[in-house]
Structures are given as structure tokens and as C-alpha cells.
């Protein structure tokens, strides 16, 4: 179990990052990619022990990332207002859209996808640790 997860976890994490970053190009997106990434961190804690899992991502970092994900989403919406568009608008506010089909395209969609992916991954990790550790 430990050897298998040590082999598999990096690939799962790379796949999760791929799904998040290619959310505007291929099926998938922020929620599914973040869930894959969070599941890899949970797999570490399940196959080793809770302390080793907590070394990968500490509780404080997880809750910071979690609040930061929503905050980044909101701030991206506010940046659109500052650029002169409506709240959460993309092309109309002047985010660089790039060539359709390339990795760095679609302006605010990529930024928001990354933020929501971070948020979903840290939500899964925080939920897991809080429920496993229980009352302390």
C-alpha cells in the first residue's frame, strides 16, 4: 500500500493539475481537478499515517488556501470592475483572451479555474482531517 501510493501519488497530482489548467480546453475543470488533487493528499494520509499526511499540507495552510480561493475569485471579479466592465466579466472588461485553443487563453476563466481548483482541493483535505481527528 505504501509503495503503491508512493508511486501513484505524483501522477495523480500531475493529472489533477492538468485537469485544472486545461479546464477551458478539455472536459473537466476546477471542481473535478481540485477533487482529484485533494484525493491524492487524502491517499497519502490513508496509506501512511495522519502525521505524514499533515506534513504534506499543514492545517493552517489548507484553511488559508481555502479562504484564499474564494477571496481570489471575488478579487478577480472586482478587477473586472476596475478594468471597466461588469462584475466577473471576461472579454468585456479587457482580460487578454489570447488565441482560442492555447493553454494561456480565455482570460479570467483560467484564473478563476485555478482559484476554484485550489479551493476544492483544500476543502477536501480540511474536511478529511477535521472529521478523522474528531474532537480534540
Amino acid at each position: 500500500m505504501r509503495i503503491t501510493s508512493r508511486l501513484v501519488v505524483p501522477f495523480i497530482q500531475i493529472y489533477g493539475i492538468y485537469v485544472v489548467l486545461h479546464g477551458h480546453l478539455s472536459p473537466g475543470g476546477s471542481f473535478s481537478g481540485g477533487a482529484i488533487f485533494g484525493a491524492s493528499l487524502v491517499l497519502v494520509a490513508l496509506s501512511f499515517n495522519l502525521e505524514t499526511g499533515a506534513k504534506q499540507i499543514s492545517h493552517q495552510t489548507a484553511s488559508l488556501l481555502e479562504s484564499g480561493g474564494v477571496l481570489g475569485f471575488v478579487i478577480t471579479g472586482l478587477v473586472a470592475i476596475a478594468l471597466g466592465g461588469n462584475y466577473l466579466s471576461n472579454r468585456a472588461a479587457g482580460f487578454p483572451a489570447g488565441q482560442a485553443g492555447e493553454l494561456f487563453s480565455a482570460g479570467a476563466i483560467l484564473i478563476i479555474t485555478v482559484f476554484v481548483g485550489i479551493k476544492v482541493a483544500s476543502t477536501i483535505v480540511t474536511l478529511f482531517y477535521n472529521i478523522i481527528e474528531g474532537e480534540k
Partner: protein, 113 residues
Amino acid sequence: MIYFLFAIIFVILTLFLRFFIGVEPRIILTFYLLGLIIFLFSFTVAEMPTFGSPVNPAFNEVPQRYLESGVAETGAINIVSSIIIDYRAFDTLGEATVLFVAIAAVIATIKAH
């Protein structure tokens, strides 16, 4: 006439279950309520428009606009992504907030004791 017959069978069945078999009234009521819910839900499903039919109310100008000019307006070739994060971004913001509130509630419930 047939409804009248059904009502009589219904009442007889209830009385039979209650007084000859001895089922508690609470359990009988529970099963009747479940039956009513199943009836209403299957009635709703039967009334739904056919999947993929061209006269569905969902086939209006809105998805046509998304399919025709979604790539030009958002720059994303994944149409689902362009809808959930560009056209319906406010809804996704609410979704992220729901996740946040859920985890805050879990932490408050577990750590409060």
C-alpha cells in the same frame, strides 16, 4: 364510479391492516405518504418533455447563442467551462461560497465540543 371503488378498497385495506394484522397507525401513515410521494414524482417524470426532442422548451435562442458565439466571446473552446465560469460566473461564486459555508459549519460542529 371506478374512483369510488378504489376509495372503498383503500378504506377496507387500511382497516384490515390496522385491526386484523395490528400494524401501528404511524407505520400505515408513513407508507401512505411514501406512496403519495412516489405517485407525484412519477407523474412529474411522465409529464416531462422527451429527451432530445426539437420542440423542447430548452431549445431556444440562448443555447444557440452560446454554441455560435461562445468561443469568440470568451476565448475558451470548452463550452461548458465558458458557461460556468464566464456566462454563469456568479452562480459558480455562490457554489464556492456554499463549499466554504459547509466546511465552516463542519469545523464549528466538531471543534465546538
